[in-house]
Symmetry: C2
Subunit: 359 residues, 2 copies
């Protein structure tokens, strides 16, 4: 019997239900900007050991909650666990990013891949979810996540990070059938993976489409959004008697928010290049919105951070449906005290936008 | 007395005057994808020697015109000539990009900088413009260009390329007064530089705001667009009895096109992440539009390239005001024969959109 959720602001805001304060968490909140994370990371030896050892993943997941008044925990993991579990051999190289031993560039490469068993090859993730839920003891909800099919495909085809995504785009344009086969397999794998996270205890899920924004509009719809849509439809969105909200985040895709909302997701993540109030004007009450402070604002003085929080809260405006976040992951050089300023400013300043709840 | 311009499609389209075909050129058309460029580059020894030697800059500027039916030549140069002329010591390192010996991060750093004399420190650029005009002999117009103040500032503060632009954004948020002083100086330098290029013979000018798209909307307006506006107002837009069109290109800024059009520029460059027809719907007949094929399409087979040309021409639709281009510079790995396919497809297919002229 799971513990009662003491702070459910996040889940309520994602479902546009009334809240007393705008909830806040930050992408990569368990990360290198925290000295305690760097200590655990050093103890683990490698980034992948940190990801694949449930006790360590749990430890770093909980670290930001000890420092800040965050309204959610997010599973500590990597977006590339699925291709790793498919046997591509992931390593994460300091200063360089992810590197795969094997790439996927042909029908033959693809033929050797299957949907990983989430309780076998990806069992370490489910163990981490169960352990984190136990340790959280109902303080805040736990967010599970996955990379999007298109974003996973970019790394699988390129073999790692890429500046221009030339190889994966060449495949998209020159061999769309092969690309669709790869994306369909990945969509199946993401559905299986996220449903297992939900079954293990993830109370909300988010899909990171980090590279959807490098596509043209028609290519985004055909090669990224179509598979996000398929995933939204394939997820078990009720668990333990509670709705499990789904958030889709395409970096650089804020101008496509109307189309993303049509997938039936509960919320859309936004980066800082769009005005959250403008997007709300377009999507209406179809979805909640998450974001969207420029992570670089956290380099600035506390009063500048507070002003930017003011601006973004005002841009969203009255009522529920806003989850405050950065527009991308926090940078490793940020002073943790500046994060505290942001989190507290969101809670303090947002009360007035939920006045009817607070009366 | 300059030669009569035999092909003025580009200038006419930029001013939304009737044309028989949609004009086409490509960003970095004189570049590493051409074997003849690589040969000249090897002969020069360094990239900066190529830029600073008018005969060599002229040679590579003309190379793409010998291969393709381009409707314009663009000055071969670098966007960072201004900070180099200010004394920051630019070198362009293979596989790494531009690196400055000195950075600008304080009032003291800024105090030592002044507006370069375009006929002295930047005289090599004006010599190249004059030489290219002579060698072009009126075949097609010559486009001059500059980096935008914000984009130049990013390199001057960071000391080179940057993934997150953390230092320049920290300055923007924490010391906006210093940032505005730097940008005001750069706007003066760009005005002086582009007016000198126009005087030397550039028949159109383009400003590359490569990094405006990494800003929030309000920061873009205050720290990039405001200075683009100042530059547009400061340019001599008539020369030799002909209008000199000004094109502004903010990569990742297509959703701000309405605001960019309000600067009074003649044309807006677009990357491939927006639909050119949608942008035309927003900007109406205020400006011409340039773009916007994904450079990665050129990896694909000829029929795919032709289809994408079809799609983009149809998206823009009937009438003048479209200059076909890529949405960013051509990649070095592209097969030059694929460029010929694109250029010819634009000319062949676009006739129907200019039917009233062709009747």
């Amino acid at each position: 019997m799971p513990a009662t959720l003491k702070n459910d602001r996040l889940l309520r805001a994602l479902l546009q239900q009334p809240v007393d304060r705008t909830p806040v968490w930050i992408m990569r909140q368990a990360g290198r900007y925290l000295p305690e994370y760097r200590a655990t990371r050093a103890r683990a030896g490698s980034f992948m050991t940190l990801c694949t050892t449930p006790e360590l993943a749990c430890e770093v997941t909980l670290q930001p909650l000890q420092r800040f008044d965050m309204d959610a925990a997010i599973l500590f993991s990597d977006i590339l666990t699925i291709p790793d579990a498919m046997g591509l051999g992931l390593s994460v190289v300091e200063q360089q990013g992810p590197v795969f031993e094997r790439t996927v560039r042909s029908v033959e490469d693809l033929a050797s891949l299957g949907v990983p068993d989430p309780e076998d090859e990806l069992g370490y993730v489910m163990d981490a979810v169960r352990l984190i839920r136990r340790e959280l003891d109902g303080r805040v909800p736990l967010i599970g996540f996955s990379g999007s099919p298109w974003t996973l495909a970019t790394y699988m085809v390129e073999g790692g990070s890429s500046k221009n995504h030339s190889m994966v785009k060449a495949m998209l344009y020159d061999n769309p059938a092969l690309m669709h086969s790869l994306l369909a397999l990945l969509a199946d794998a993401v559905i299986s993976y996220l449903n297992a996270q939900i079954h293990a205890g993830a109370q909300a899920v988010m899909i990171f489409d980090t590279w959807g924004g490098v596509l043209t509009g028609p290519a985004y719809e055909a090669f990224s959004l179509a598979y996000l849509h398929r995933i939204v439809e394939g997820l078990n969105r009720e668990h333990d008697g509670r709705r499990v909200p789904v958030t889709l985040f395409t970096k650089g895709g804020g101008h496509w928010a109307g189309k993303v909302a049509a997938t039936g997701c509960d919320a859309i993540g936004l980066d800082w290049t769009v005005e959250i109030g403008d997007v709300r004007g377009q999507t209406g009450d179809k979805v909640a919105l998450q974001g969207n402070m420029d992570p670089a604002v956290l380099y600035a003085a506390p009063e500048v951070i507070e002003q930017e929080v003011t601006r973004i809260l005002a841009s969203y405006g009255e009522g529920s449906g806003h989850v405050f976040n950065l527009g991308h992951g926090i940078h490793p050089q940020i002073d943790p005290d500046h994060v505290a300023v942001m989190v507290d400013a969101v809670h303090t300043q947002s009360a007035r936008y939920h006045a009817t709840v607070n009366e």
